[in-house]
């Protein structure tokens, strides 16, 4: 008999290599991103003395000469170290217009050898006579900050230190988050409406035919996502197959071609197509296990078909409905590729905003914060899924 201690050791030894691999190749990257969303040392490293002299500043009047002297020296230094662009960019996010103030000041300061530095800087740009500039420097100099998270939910920290919502016209992320949730809900409902009858048909077909029909559901599941997205572009574009067809049967005129792609409609159609198999498969496996006798019994007791369906059949399929809907919803809120390719400007979701801040605006802290919020939401939904269905039972075709 093998001792249970030895058995335990054997199990751990088998799992450990993979666990370490995942921790290094996957969990560590996620952690890096989350750390970036709250930690940003660029300004603190570049302007240490400036920030030290701002520590005692009351925030009402302008700071003392020491701060002006330090910033003049450290800006020139940052320019030589080639970090000036990053510093200026970060300050600019807090007070727009400061990017050019910083780069211009650093350039002009090269030729100045002595102060008084306040006069010199104010002559280069009047922004140095505005306390808002110094507030921005001090805020950007914090190594650890909740700023990106506040930003990601359309809030801001006021100079006094209190937190307030952004003015109406500057709120971007909460409306986008809301749009993502609404679109995901719409896609989930569409998948359920399309998938339920199909799953029912397959579950009740004789085995050979059921296998064939199941294969039809699985073909799109296995086909490259990019192929499916390309297919929808080909079909739905204004000069595409669907518009040509509608034109040929006379439903629309030549100038009435429908815009079905590069907008929200395109995103919804293509994503419903992509996610439909994830709805059909769990529904099918639940429906297959429902014995036919129940519906017979309901009918023989005098239930009308609709009544029998809603009182007897539908309640038994709820586990499948729950599992499929939750899975489709979770996959939809994190979706990136399809909206990016067929969504145009109106069909973008929260993931696309993460990508925008990663690749275009280069505001990586904000990308991390938006990603962190999305990740928290998805994980919460998965915990729910695990409770209801069990995570190892994720359908894999």
């Amino acid at each position: 008999m093998i001792g249970s201690g030895r058995e335990r050791f054997r199990a751990l030894a088998l799992v450990l290599p993979l666990l370490l691999f995942i921790l290094v190749t996957f969990i560590a990257p996620l952690a890096t991103m989350l750390v970036r969303s709250v930690h940003d040392p660029v300004v603190a490293d570049a302007l240490p003395e400036t920030l030290a002299s701002l520590a005692e500043w009351d925030g009402e009047e302008l700071p003392g000469e020491a701060a002006y002297e330090a910033v003049a020296r450290e800006l020139v230094q940052a320019r030589e170290n080639r970090t000036l662009g990053q510093v200026a960019g970060r300050v600019n996010r807090l007070e727009s217009g400061l990017r050019s103030v910083f780069t211009r000041s650093a350039r002009s300061l090269r030729d100045v050898t002595d102060g008084p530095w306040r006069g010199v800087l104010e002559e280069i740009d009047a922004a140095w006579a505005d306390p808002a500039t110094w507030h921005a420097v001090r805020a950007a100099g914090q190594r650890f900050t909740a700023r990106h998270y506040l930003n990601a939910v359309d809030m801001q920290r006021l100079p006094g230190g209190s937190v307030a919502r952004q003015p109406e016209e500057r709120r971007i992320y909460l409306p986008l988050l809301w749009r993502t949730l609404v679109v995901s809900a719409v896609i989930t409902i569409l998948c359920l409406a399309l998938g339920y009858p199909v799953a029912h048909l397959i579950a009740n077909a004789p085995e050979r035919r059921a296998n064939l029909l199941l294969a039809l559901v699985l073909v799109p599941f296995w086909t490259s996502l990019l192929v499916r997205t390309t297919a929808w572009i080909v079909l739905l574009q204004t000069q595409g197959v669907v518009n040509d067809l509608l034109l040929a049967i006379g439903l629309i005129g030549e100038d009435g071609r429908l815009a079905m792609i590069y907008n929200m409609t395109g995103t919804i159609i293509a994503m419903t197509h992509v996610l439909l198999p994830f709805m059909v498969l769990p529904l099918y496996s639940v429906m297959r296990a429902i014995p036919g006798q129940y519906m017979n019994a309901a009918a023989s007791l005098g239930a009308k078909p609709a009544q029998a369906f809603f009182r007897v059949y539908w309640p038994q399929t709820l586990p499948g409905v729950g599992a499929g809907s939750l899975l489709v919803f979770i996959l939809a809120i994190g979706y990136y590729i399809t909206p990016a390719l067929v969504g145009g400007s109106s069909g973008q979701l929260i993931s696309n905003m993460v990508a925008y801040h990663m690749q275009t605006s280069l505001n990586w802290g904000l990308a991390g914060a938006l990603g962190g919020i999305l990740l928290a939401g998805v994980l919460a939904l998965y915990l729910l899924y695990d409770r209801l269905v069990g995570i190892e039972r994720l359908s894999l075709g």
């Binding site: 666990l19 996620l30 399309l194 029909l213 390309t230 079909l235 078909p305 190892e392 994720l394």
Partner: protein, 286 residues
């Protein structure tokens, strides 16, 4: 897709009961047919369009008349002669095969450990191992971009192989775990009692029995890597461009029906995968 006229099966099914109302039954079947068309037609339409002689994404009049002139292999010739596409195929294969080998080896070992009742913290470990599958890929890609470039693996084949291995592992762990749940551990005990050393018993008794699960896990992992574009988008340099990355560029820039020819290749490939996995599943059950 004409389930309505199928021969009656022995126990009356709910579907047959719904037949009471013929019109309703007809509507139900028509609806199902439309959904199947919705699922499959977009993919099927790609294939004939890839033989278009004209650089359009739609059927020309000649194609509709089935004019031989309207069809050509020019887009296939174009991708086969274009070094960009052949290089991206090599990249896809190198990265996909390496990531699959790594994911399958590590994943199968871990699944064997996880199947043991003595495994501590089983749920937590399972959750961690599956996390790459449930994390939205844009988040994984962003994190990997930061992390891999900070350790000098940005824009390298090795970095992409490791990243794709991580993404493929959950599929291996899940499928092998599922196969192991149907494995009778008395068989390895019987082998041991007959004097087989543990490794020999694993190789000759357990592995052949769980092989269908291992292979379908490997196919899932390969398909994941072969179709992955977001991590590649963030991490790959020009030297590491894969087929999906090249298609992404093609779709964005609206270049030519050449991408439809590539898409047709990928559809055939997907159909093959589907057949193999279905076959393995049947074998695994039998």
């Amino acid at each position: 897709m004409t389930a309505a006229t199928g021969a009656p099966t022995a126990p009356p099914s709910p579907a047959r009961l719904l037949r009471g109302d013929t019109l309703g039954r007809f509507a139900y079947l028509a609806f199902c047919v439309l959904v199947f068309v919705f699922l499959v037609a977009p993919i099927v339409v790609i294939v004939p369009l890839s033989f278009n002689a004209e650089p359009y994404f739609t059927f020309t009049e000649g194609m509709l008349r089935l004019d031989a002139e309207a069809y050509s292999l020019r887009w296939y010739r174009e991708i086969l002669e274009n070094e960009v596409w052949t290089r991206s195929l090599v990249n896809s294969l190198v990265i996909g095969v390496s990531a699959t080998a790594l994911a399958t080896t590590l994943g199968t070992l871990a699944a064997l450990g996880l199947a043991s009742a003595a495994m501590p913290a089983r749920r937590l470990v399972m959750g961690l191992l599956i996390s790459p599958m449930i994390t939205p890929v844009i988040i994984s890609a962003a994190g990997m971009f930061f992390f891999y470039s900070s350790i000098g693996l940005g824009q390298t084949h090795l970095g992409l192989i490791l990243a794709h291995t991580a993404l493929g592992i959950p599929f291996v762990v899940i499928t092998v775990t599922a196969t192991l749940s149907g494995f009778d551990s008395n068989l390895t005990r019987a082998a041991a009692s007959l004097g087989a050393p543990p490794l020999y018993a694993f190789r000759r008794v357990q592995l052949p029995l769980i092989a269908p699960g291992v292979i379908s896990g490997a196919l899932f992992a390969f398909a994941t890597s072969f179709d992955e574009v977001v991590v590649v988008l963030f991490m790959a340099g020009v030297e590491q461009r894969t087929i999906p990355r090249q298609m992404w560029a093609g779709i964005r820039e609206q270049i030519s029906p050449a991408i439809l020819a590539v898409a047709t290749f990928l559809i055939v490939f997907a159909a093959l995968l589907l057949v193999v996995v279905a076959w393995l599943r049947r074998r695994g059950r039998g």
